[in-house]
Amino acid sequence: MRLPTNTDDARLVARTVRLVNSSPAYAALSAVTGFVGLNLFVVSQNINLFINVVVSGTLALDARLAVLFGLYPFVGTAFTATEGVVLLVVAAFFGVNLSMLTYQLRENRVSLREGSGSAAGMALGVLGAGCAACGTAVLAGILSLFGAAGVLTLLPFNGLEFSLVALVLLALSVYWLADGMRGGEVRGCPVGY
């Protein structure tokens, strides 16, 4: 398994991401997917509130929007500044990852390594970034399968660890996708070695 080890790898990733997103369509896909990811992270913890108050009910539009926007980092209080930054970066990587995956799906076959990294990163992104409350049952249930339910109490950053792991997985997925394009071309421009 090839891992990024030097500045050439970082330049490869930057160039490949830039080339893919130089297309307005893929840039829009990155932005939309990142926005959808952010909303998924934020709303998933309060589906009942979202459906009962934001979507349905009898409140005026401004009240519904105040409730919805109040769930977001830096607007509401559910996330610390650090959690908010990590959440936004995870959402951005989510978007870039999807646009690069889409490019690869359209142009090439996707490898198992690239696909699994993306899938795991996306799942962890939702699980970690969206869990603002302590001790959600499914997370505890999953950990209990490994005899590790108590590990939740040991996390020094109160669950932010999952978001950081998501970020690493998504970043690796982006690197593997870029690595798969090494030596080729993106929209007629060489990617380089």
């Binding site: 998924l40 998933s44 913890q45 309060n46 589906i47 009942n48 509130l49 459906i51 009962n52 108050v53 349905s56 009910g57 009898t58 409140l59 009240a63 519904r64 105040a66 409730v67 109040g70 769930l71 509401g76 209080t77 559910a78 610390t80 799906l105 076959r109 996707v110 490898s111 198992l112 696909g115 699994s116 993306s118 899938a119 795991a120 996306m122 799942a123 962890l124 992104g125 939702v126 699980l127 969206g130 869990c131 603002a132 409350a133 302590c134 001790g135 959600t136 049952a137 499914v138 997370l139 999953i142 939740l152 109490t153 109160n158």
Partner: protein
């Protein structure tokens, strides 16, 4: 990996990930009459702030050792008191849902129940003490509780002894049972009551603006 297997794995992974947080919501929609909702069980016997005839209510399920509850108590509740409770618009109920996030939360919950049985005003002071200090251990939470209560009007030694003896375990377990039946999966979780209807569930230390607007205030 071909495209179909990849998309299937992405969908499965995404579903697991989303389920991890959707598990915090029991009902995905519809209001429920308060009388038939589990949170009404013993509600009027719980610690509360605000006017008894307030048109709306917020029923909180919290753990004294929970960092998200700590965030709510220190960053949100003061403004909620000022903008909603003291205005006579909302009554705030506090119920325990001891998971515990940290082991000391269990003893703290028992001490809170014992203190409430003695003096409700001191209960609120003790609750604030736990969330303000928030650096307890299993070994020091009850000694420090005794020390804090020693400066109040309640029997500090008696309360700590009650907590150690399990005299108020039933009250703690009862709140936990109500929370579980209501669909509480993490803390803090709040139920918003408008009139005689439970209109929404809120999870996490959301801002006063979210509560106020969701209740139409």
């Amino acid at each position: 990996m071909d495209r179909r297997r990849f998309m299937a794995s992405v969908a499965a992974a995404g579903a697991v990930g989303v389920t991890g947080c959707l598990g915090g919501n029991n009902d995905e929609g519809d209001t429920v009459p308060l009388d038939s909702h589990p949170i009404s069980d013993g509600l009027e016997e719980q610690p509360s702030l605000g006017a008894s005839d307030a048109p709306t209510a917020v029923v909180a399920f919290e753990d004294p050792s929970c960092h998200s509850c700590h965030s709510f108590e220190t960053n949100v509740l003061p403004t909620m008191r000022e903008e909603m409770i003291e205005m006579g618009d909302t009554r705030f109920y506090y119920r325990l849902f001891t998971q515990p996030v940290q082991p000391w939360g269990t003893d703290a919950s028992k001490a809170l129940e014992a203190t409430y049985a003695s003096d409700e005003d001191v209960f609120w002071e003790l609750k604030s003490f736990y969330y303000d200090e928030f650096d307890f251990t299993t070994d020091d939470v009850l000694p420090r509780t005794r020390e804090f209560l020693g400066d109040t009007s309640v029997d500090a030694d008696g309360i700590v002894e009650s907590a150690r003896n399990g005299e108020y375990d039933d009250e703690v377990d009862s709140d936990m049972s109500v929370g579980e039946r209501a669909g509480v999966r993490g803390t803090p979780t709040f139920f918003l009551v408008d009139g005689d209807e439970v209109v929404a569930q809120v999870v996490g230390p959301q801002s006063t603006s979210v509560f106020r607007n969701a209740l139409g205030l």
